[in-house]
Amino acid sequence: MNKIYFTFCRYLASNRSFFFAISILFVNRATAQFTIEQNNLLTKYSIAKTDNKENRHLNFIVINPDVAALNKNNIYLLRTLSANAGIFYVDDSTRLAYLETNHFKYAVANDLWKLSIQLEKDSHELMQLKSDRKLFTLLVKNADSFIELLKSSQNHIDIKQVYKETNALVILCDPAILFKEIIQLNEVLFVDTYTAAKSDYALSGYYKTTNFISASDFFYPDDNGQGITIGIKEKQMDEGDIDLLKRVLPFDNTTGGNDLHATTIATLAGGAGNSFISGKGQASRCTFFSSSYANLFPDSTPLLLQNNVSVQNHSYGTIMQSFYGAEAMSYDLQTVQNKYLMHVFSCGNSGIDTPSTGTYAGLAGFANITGNFKMAKNVLTIAAIDTSEQIAPYSSSGPLYDGRIAPQLAALGSNGTSESAAIVSGTVAKLQQVYKDAHGQQLPPASLIKSVLLCTADDIGSYGIDYRSGFGALNVLRAMECLKNNNFDSSSLAQGDTWIKNIVIPPLTKHFKIALSWTDTAGTVNTYKALSNDLDLELKEIATGNIWHPWCLNTFPHDDSLMLPATRSRDSLNTVELITLDMPSAGAYEIKVIASTIITASMQDFNIAFMSDSIPSFRFVVPLQQSDFYLGNNKAEQIKIKWWSGSFTSSDMGTLSVSMDNGNTWEVLAASIPLSTQYFNWTVPDTNALIQFRMNTINGSYYSPQILLGPLTNLHTDYLCTDSFRLSWNSQPLAQSYQVFALTDSAYLKLIHQQTDTFIVMQRNEHPENIYAVQPVLNNNIKSVRSFAVDVNNQGSGCMYRSFYGIPVGERMELTIELDYPQGLDSVVIEKINEHGDGISTVENIIPNTSQYSYISYDESPSAGANNYRAKLWSAGHFVFSETISLLHTGKQWLFLYPNPTASGQPLYYVIKDSPSNLFLQLYSLQGIQIAEFPIDLSGSIYIPHFSSGMYYYQLINGDNEKLQQGKLMIF
C-alpha cells in the first residue's frame, strides 16, 4: 500500500477492493424531490460507482427515514446525518424489500459516515505520513468481537484503551491501515483522531468573595462536603500537600509524580485550609479520588461507584472538536447508568480562537470549546470569570456543535477555566451533602443539582443566557439556600404527558427563575443533533393566562445571529431550560413540563428548581469576616461591600454606614444609595478594629456581623534546637487569647494550646510535629484569620542563630552572623579555630541588641588557605556552638593554591585577592625553564596537564610582567 492519494475521498473511490458494493438503488427516482442538503448528503455518503461484487456491505443512507418503522423491520439507525437523513444497517439484504415497497429513497453508503469531522479534516495530512503510527478513537458494535477480529489482521495494530461500557477503543496504527482495513469493518461505527488531554492552567490567587463562596462558608460552615467523594481526573495530585493530606483514596493514577495543576485543582475543590485561608476549598471535608486523564473515556462506572464518587472534575481539554464523538456519547451513557454522578468540565481556554471544523467553522470567538467529551448532554461545562465578575476573554465560548448552550455556568477562574470547574465541583459536593443529610443519605440526581445551579446563577454579560456565560455566574449561597428551602421538584413523564405544579410568586419579587433539567439518553455517535428525549418547560400566570417559554438563543452560524439576545420560545436542543421573569406580578402560577418527544421506551425523569429573590428582605453578603479583606494573600485596598436587597424596589434608597467602635458612632459611607445597586466600593482603611456595616432603609436598619479588620497574624520560628523550639507571633490587640494549632495525625490542624502570651517554647519530645499555626480568638465568635501554617524546618532557623557565612574582603575576612532571636542571647562570641582544633582565638565578642538581627565581624589577619570559624552563642548561662565554617583566604599574599601537593591531570584550585585582571600563573621546572602559563581569574581553578612528578616553581605575574608572588608547587 504505497499509493498515496490526494484526498481521502478519492482514496475511497478508487480503491475498489474496499467495497462490497451493489448497485445504488434509488426508488421512485422520477418523483424524488431532494433538498440541496439531502442531495449533498447522498453525494457525500453513498458509493460513487456500482461494482457487482458480493454484497456484504449492508449500510445504507436513507432519506426521510421513519426511524421507528424501519427499526420494526430490522433496519437499524447507526447515525443521524440530519433531521431527514440517516445511516442504517440492514442485517440481511432481503430486508431491502421493505425500503423498496415503502418508497424510501436510499443508497448504499460508503464509509465516510464513520469519520468524525476532525478525522475527515486530518485525513489528507494523515495519508501523507508513510509510517508514522497514530492513535485513533473508535466506537464499534462490540468491543470484544472487534478485538477478536483484529487478531486475524496481518497488520500491526495495537489496542491502547478499551471502554467496554460504550464499546469504545483507542488503537495505534498506521493511518493507511486505518483507512484500508479498519474503517471498512462492519463492526466499526465511528473513527476519530485521538487528541491527548492538556490541563487548563491554574495558579495562586483565589478571591473568595466572588461567587458568594465566602458568604456560603460564613452562613453554612458545616456544609463542607463531609461524606462526599470528589473525583479529580487529571494527573496525580500531591497527596502530601497539607491541604489534601490523608483524604486521597488509594488508587493508582498511573501518571506518577505530583502535579501542581492537579494539586491546585483539588485544593480549590476541597482543600482543608490547613496552609491558609487560600488553601481552603469549597468542600473542605470531602474525600478525593484521583484518576488519570490519559484515558479520555469515563472511568468505569463500577469503579466510580465503588469509590463513592458522586462528582468528578475535569479541568482539561484537547482541541476544538465540534461533534458528538465516542467520548461525549460515553459520558452521556455513564450519566444514564448512574444518574447521581455529576461530571463537571472546564470549557477551555480557547475563547479567542476560531473553530476550523463543524457548523461554526470560521467564526472567531465562537464554538471553541475544547474536547468532544464537552459535547455531552448530561454534564456541566464551566466558563471563567475574573474578579470583576466579567467573563475572561480566554474562556471558551459556545454554542456546541449542534447549537446547544455551553458553557452553562461561569465561576471564578482568574487563571483559567480549570479553576472555575474546580470551584463548581466543590460546590456540587456541598450541595450533594446538604441534600443527602436531609434525605436519609440518598444522593440527589445530577439533574437536580444542575437545575439548582442554573436557576440560582446570577446573570452576567449580555442580558439573559448567552454563549459565553451560559446561564450566568455561580452563586454558591443562593444554590445552597435553594436546596435547603426545598425549592425544587421532580417527576417523570411518558410521551405526550404533561406535569403541572402550582406555585405562588410572593410580592416584591425582582426575579423569579425556574430551571428544568433532565438526564437524556445517550445519542448515537456522530449524530447531527444530540438531543433524544425532548421535554418542554412553560410557566403560566393563572390570573391572566399569560404563558412564558424558556429562553432560547439563535443558533444560525453567523456572528450576528449568535450574538442576538435570547428570545422566549420552545427549546428542542438542550437538556436544560430556563424561564425567568423580571418584576413578576405576585400571585398564582402554573409550572408545566410537557413530554414532547420521548423516543426511549421508559419514562423520562426530570427535575425542576426555582428561585425568587424576594426573601430575605435585606442581607449583607460581603464582607462578613476578616478573610474577606484578603484577596488571595494580600489585603485588598478596596472592597465591594455587597448586599441583597430582597423585597426592596429599584427606587428604594438606603444609607450605608460603618462603625468602628461597637456601634457608638457611625460614619456614613453613602448617604443615598439605591438599594438595588447591591454594592458599594469601599476603600479599606489601614486600621485594627472591629467594624460593622449598617444600612438604614424605609423598613428599618440592617446590620452586618461584626468583622475584624486588621493585619494578619504571622508565625515566626525564633529558634529550632534539637530538644526544643520557640515560636512567636505579632500581637492582635483585640484578641482574648491565641490558639496554637499543629498538624498531628489528622487531616486537619488540631488545637494544641490556648494561651494569652504571644510566644511558645515547645519541647521536641512532646511536640515532634513540624507544622504549626496560630489563630487569635476574639469575643462573640468573631472569626480572625489563622496564620499561615509554618513548617518549622523550612524557616531557615537554627539553634539560637539563623546563618553564619563569610567572604574575604581585601586582607580581612568578613564574617556575618544572622540571628532570629537576639532577645534570647546574652552574647555571641565569634571564634577562630586553628587547623588542628586545639587553638581558639576570639574574633569578636558581640553583645546583641534586641532589634538587630545581623552582625558583621572581621578577622583582621586570616591566614593563607582555610580559616575555620564558629560562633559560641550564650543564653542564660548556657551556650551552643554554631556550625563551623571553613573559608579560604589568600592571607597577605595575592594567591593561594590548593591542594599543594597536587596531582597531575587534576584541577588545581586557587583563591585570588579581590577582582583579578590580566594575571597569569607561570610554572617553572627546578631548572628555571617555563613549562606552562595559565590565566588567573575568578574561576578559581586551572587544569594541570600530565607533568612528571616533582617540585616546580610557580610565579604570578601581571600584564606588565611584574612578579607579584612566587612559590613552590609539588606535583605527584
Partner: protein, 266 residues
C-alpha cells in the same frame, strides 16, 4: 604574548557587545555544530520559551540568553507550561512551576570568593526580602537550596533554570568575565536569576528586542492563559527585573509591576 592578547580581545569583544547593542545576556554566536535542529527548536517553543538564538552548550540548551535547560527539563516545562501574569501591556510575567510549601526560606550559598559578587548576592536577597513575600532568601554556608557558582568561558553572563517538584532551581552560574560590572547591575543580574529559580520567566519573552535589541522574536502565544492582575496599570511599564537582556550600568530594582507580580505569586 598570545594569551594576553586573546584576553584583551575578549575584553574588547565584550565592550563591543555592551555598546553596540544591548545584547550582552544573549549569546555571542558559537560554532555551527551548536545549531539546533527543527525538533529541538519545536521543543523549546512548546516549553513556552523563545527558540530564537538558542544554542547547545554544556550538554544543555542555552535559551533566551540565560536559561540553561536540559532536554528533560524542557519536556517537563512542556507538560507544565504556565500562564502569563499580565500587569501592563509590556509586562508579561509568565510563570512555570512554582516553589511550594510556603511560607518558606530558600537558602542561598555563594561558593566563589569574590567580595563584589558576594555583596551583590546579599543585595539581591535583600531586594526580595524587603517585599515581605512568603518566599524569602537567606545567605548560608551550608545546607543551601541554590548554589551560586563561578563559570568561565561561556557566552552568557549568568544562567539559571526553573523550579521542579515545588523546589527552586538549584544552581546559578555566574560568568566571572562580568565580575567587574557595577554593583547595582550585578545585584540586578543575581535578582534576575533568583527570579528564574522561583519560577519567573522573561517579561519580554514575547518581544525580546524590547531589552535585547535586534530581531523581533514573537512566540505568537497571543496571551492565551494569561492572567491580567487586577488593579495594575494598563500602560507599558519599563525596566522589569525579568527583562531578558541587560548592560553594564543598568539597575532594575523591582518596579511597581514587578512588586505586584511577586506579591501575586508569592
Amino acid at each position: 604574548m598570545k594569551k594576553k592578547l586573546s584576553i584583551v580581545m575578549a575584553a574588547a569583544l565584550a565592550v563591543l557587545l555592551m555598546t553596540g547593542c544591548k545584547k550582552d545576556e544573549t549569546t555571542e554566536t558559537t560554532p555551527t555544530n551548536d545549531a539546533l535542529d527543527q525538533s529541538e527548536m519545536r521543543l523549546i517553543e512548546d516549553a513556552g520559551l523563545n527558540p530564537g538564538g538558542a544554542i547547545k552548550t554544556e550538554g544543555k540548551y542555552l535559551i533566551e540568553g540565560d536559561l540553561l535547560l536540559s532536554a528533560d527539563e524542557l519536556r517537563a516545562l512542556v507538560a507544565n507550561n504556565g500562564p502569563e501574569l499580565i500587569v501592563a501591556n509590556d509586562e508579561q510575567y509568565r510563570t512555570t512551576n512554582l516553589v511550594t510549601s510556603l511560607p518558606r526560606v530558600i537558602k542561598v550559598r555563594y561558593t566563589g570568593g569574590n567580595a563584589a559578587i558576594s555583596a551583590a548576592v546579599n543585595n539581591a536577597i535583600a531586594r526580595y526580602n524587603a517585599r515581605a513575600l512568603r518566599v524569602t532568601f537567606q545567605r548560608v554556608t551550608t545546607g543551601q537550596n541554590i548554589n551560586i557558582t563561578h563559570v568561565t568561558g561561556v557566552s552568557y553572563i549568568a544562567s539559571a533554570g526553573f523550579p521542579s517538584s515545588g523546589n527552586p532551581y538549584n544552581t546559578i552560574r555566574f560568568n566571572t568575565a562580568y565580575a567587574g560590572w557595577g554593583s547595582s547591575t550585578l545585584t540586578t543580574i543575581l535578582a534576575h536569576e533568583l527570579g528564574h529559580c522561583i519560577g519567573f520567566r522573561h517579561t519580554d519573552y514575547m518581544q525580546r528586542e524590547y531589552s535585547c535589541g535586534g530581531a523581533h522574536y514573537n512566540e505568537g502565544s497571543a496571551g492565551i492563559g494569561a492572567i491580567h492582575i487586577p488593579g495594575t496599570p494598563t500602560g507599558p511599564v519599563a525596566n522589569s527585573w525579568m527583562l531578558a537582556c541587560i548592560s553594564n550600568g543598568v539597575n532594575r530594582p523591582f518596579n511597581t509591576s514587578d512588586r505586584t507580580a511577586l506579591a501575586y505569586v508569592y
